[in-house]
Amino acid sequence: MRNGSDTQKTASFFDPIQRVIRSFGLPRIIIILFLLSLWVAAAFLSIPFPALLSDTFVRLGMNTVLTLSMLPAILVGTGLFFGLPLGIICGLLGGVMSIELNLKGLTAFFAAIGFSIPMAILVGYGYGLLLNRVKGSEMTVGTYVGFAFVSLMSFGWVTLPFKNPEMAWAIGKGIRVTVSLEGRFSNVLNKLWAFEVYGIRIPTGAIVFLGFLCFLMWLFLRTRTGLALQECGMNPKFAKASGIDVDRMRIVGTIISTILGAIGILAYAQGFGFLQLYEAPMYMGFIAAAAILIGGATLKTAKISHVLIGTFLFQGILVVALPVANTVATLGSLAEISRIIVSNGIILYALAQKGGNE
């Protein structure tokens, strides 16, 4: 009797832990523990904690929209949106055009978004058509389409006839590799309604902006089209039997992802202070993909909460890792190395999980 009740006790003691691990996912727990241990290390190394949190919030504002662009693609069933560089380039073009027109401040920012959306719709439509022809290997094809498009646009940046001296090379034609946004829309969102509590600076404008986009996404998923889009991802055969044009929905999802990629890079650029052209967009897709996966998404399911949690955790690690690594070892690239290990590791984990389930 006693024995029996004892075993029951141990079971009831471990059960909740196991349930938490199962519902939260082992990789996410490891990442959270990693972030916590970095924070502890930072405290020991007397790195100011408020500054770290401030930085994390700024990074959150910069990266969340890019992560959000993964969501429609996953939901519609095309997997992680490795075609993100396509959207990013549309956004960069919008940004460059807004500078060319000599716009400033919030106007410049929203004008850039306005210019980039039509381009993103067009590019997303074409990319969607392509994805419909390569069903089953969207992610592989997407990765290389992204790479190819970035390289192709490197020619574009050199040849496009932009005249503004802020952007153009001093000699010859084309646009510089990085274009400063100082005096344009650098930090326009971060400074908007910003305030400070306990030494933590909250970039209110950026947070409100990403919150608004998340809210729009939340609303969209509750419309008829949003539901149809999710049905396509969960079970294309079900969608077809319910009279949904699956191919069309996949294009819709791809367009929305591309638009969010374009808006995302502009939100990123305003926080970063520069537009990075040429090769820079190449690996952006991997960072966003890693973030949403850390948040708990899989290749088939994702929620807005995954976007927010994932971006917070991933960027939080990057923010703390850099000063901690710099203090512990003077190897300059340690933070960059840990970023690459974390982001590629989590993508590898997600892809392996997919294989395991099938």
């Binding site: 509750r222 419309t223 539901l227 079900f238 319910s242 009279g243 044009d245």
Partner: protein, 529 residues
């Protein structure tokens, strides 16, 4: 031919359970040298399980093995893998071809048993890099083919050959194995044309005369009657009879094969002739892989429960899938007097047709979504129900969805923790009820139901069927029930069409004789109808 009394194969008292479900109950089978032994039975009668045991397939051994014993050439044997079976001299000609299209006939016949000769490199590096002896291989292939009286060139590629020839190449490959004693033919004529089938049958006879024993599995009863010496009939895992051909008839085999006792529900009073036609199908052809429909004409009356039966792979499943636009189809379909465009799922649902797919988990449900969203999803998409408008945009109306789902959960007695539970957590029977609720949300005029009781337990089966009858009687909904289980069709349908080889073989009353159903299912005597 002189009959030999030497036993080649003896399977004694074979029984097999899958997870407590008895699929074979004490089968005794013996085959003499040079005997053609026919095995007939409906789908699920246990034919393939028996063959899996004979070949030591892993599906048998990974599920706890089997009971009984096997003797081969008078000696008890244990066969734990297909290699053991091959070593004993048991060969199998598959229904699906196991051939490499890009290789020649010879290469396919000699695959993995190539004849090789030494070269100077292989003397150093060993057998794997010996040279292929093409001449010897070609001769062997030629010999095997001529045993079958095949005059095809042994060097042509498989890819371009007609289906019938591929079948013969398969047989040639088995014959080329020198020690072959027993050959199993698993529905070899299913894909052949009539003349090819004739040729195969005469080949079987000749092989038997040369001393090879043959197990011939088919559902074409006339072929069995033509070539077999002895015939075993299986039904629901039981050996119903084993008889010499001379002591039985086609009709008897058909009756033995079907042989269910039927309890019919009360028949309806109004005669069907007075009702008007709701669905008229002409020359329907559906390209559904594995269930191809070649030419189907049907007229379904308003308010009836119409059954579609037949063996697996004959095309009965394809009919509903084709009309609902899920697979490429040709022909003409009229619904309520108006032409229904084919290959257009949306239009079909819009017009008031609904479909409960045979592939419940694959097509019928969004497994990760909640019970309520599964129920309302198509109605939202097609009929724009359950939406509320806010300005230009409209959003899902959660309260309306919840109310409807709760009503359905109550009416259909769906056992779940609540409308928000994901459907993948429900049992098969309850999932099927969610599918029914989903169809009801569309308020269809005609409901296609395919294999509604597949994979659900017996109690739930009855409830699902009762629900269908109730819907039909209370709301006058026309139901077209497609099922592999004849007993199920006969218990609730007004008329039953039997499909064989993609065509309607005949339409029977549910109380027609067993033998009639059996004959139609075996594709016989279509002209009598």
């Amino acid at each position: 031919m002189e009959r030999n009394d030497k036993l080649v194969l003896e399977m004694k008292n074979i029984a097999k359970e899958y997870y407590g479900n008895k699929v074979l109950k004490g089968i005794n089978l013996s085959v003499r040298e040079g005997e053609i032994h026919g095995i007939v039975g409906e789908n699920g009668a246990g034919k393939s399980t028996l063959m899996n045991i004979l070949f030591g397939m892993s599906v048998i051994h990974s599920t706890g093995g089997f009971q009984g014993s096997i003797e081969f050439l008078g000696k008890p044997v244990t066969i734990t893998s297909p290699f053991d079976a091959m070593a004993l001299g048991i060969g199998m000609v598959h229904q699906e071809f196991m051939l490499i299209p890009g290789y020649s006939v010879t290469e396919n016949i000699k695959l993995n048993r190539e004849i090789t000769k030494e070269n100077f490199l292989s003397k150093i590096l060993g057998p794997p890099i010996r040279t292929l002896d093409w001449v010897a291989m070609g001769q062997d292939a030629r010999n095997a083919l001529s045993k079958l009286e095949m005059d095809i060139d042994e060097w042509v590629k498989i890819a371009g050959l007609p289906v019938g020839h591929m079948q013969f190449v398969e047989i040639a490959r088995e014959l080329d194995k020198k020690n072959i004693k027993l050959l199993v033919f698993d529905e070899p004529t299913a894909v052949l044309t009539e003349s090819e089938a004739e040729r195969l049958l005469s080949t079987l006879r000749r092989l038997a005369e040369s001393g090879i024993s043959i197990l011939f599995i088919t559902h074409r009863l006339h072929e069995i009657m033509e070539v077999c010496h002895n015939i075993t009939v299986l039904r629901d895992g039981v050996q119903v009879a084993t008889k010499p051909r001379s002591e039985t008839t086609l009709e008897e085999l058909a009756r033995l094969m079907v042989g269910h006792t039927i309890e019919s529900i009360a028949k309806r009073k109004t005669s069907l002739e007075q009702r008007k036609t709701i669905l008229k199908v002409r020359n329907l052809r559906v390209l559904m892989p594995g269930e191809t429909v070649y030419k189907v004409d049907l007229e379904i009356k308003e308010g009836e429960i119409f059954g579609i039966g037949g063996l697996a792979g004959q095309g009965k499943i394809g009919i509903a899938n084709g009309i609902m636009g899920l697979y490429d189809s040709y022909g003409s379909v009229e619904f309520e007097g108006q032409t229904l465009p084919l290959n257009h799922p949306r239009e079909a649902v819009k017009r008031g047709l609904a479909f409960l797919s045979e592939d419940r988990r694959g097509v019928g449900l969004l497994l990760d979504m909640s019970v309520e969203m599964n129920i309302v999803a198509p109605a939202i998409e097609i009929q724009k129900k359950f939406l509320k408008n806010l300005g230009v945009f409209s959003f899902l109306d959660r309260t309306q969805i919840r109310q409807f789902a709760q009503k359905m959960i109550q009416n259909l007695d769906i056992r779940c923790l609540g409308p928000e539970q994901p459907v993948k957590r429900l049992s098969g029977g309850n999932q099927q009820k969610v599918c029914i609720a989903k169809a009801l949300a569309l308020e269809p005029k005609l409901l296609f139901v395919s294999e509604p009781t597949r994979g659900i337990d017996i109690g739930a089966k009855k409830r699902v069927l009762d629900t269908l009858v109730e819907l039909n009687q209370t709301s006058g909904m026309t139901v077209v029930l497609t099922s592999s289980e004849l007993a199920e069709l006969r218990s609730i349908c007004d008329r039953i069409a039997i499909i064989s080889e993609g065509r309607v073989m005949g339409i029977l009353q549910p109380d027609a004789e067993d033998a009639q159903f059996g004959l139609l299912m075996a594709g016989e005597y279509a002209e009598r109808q």
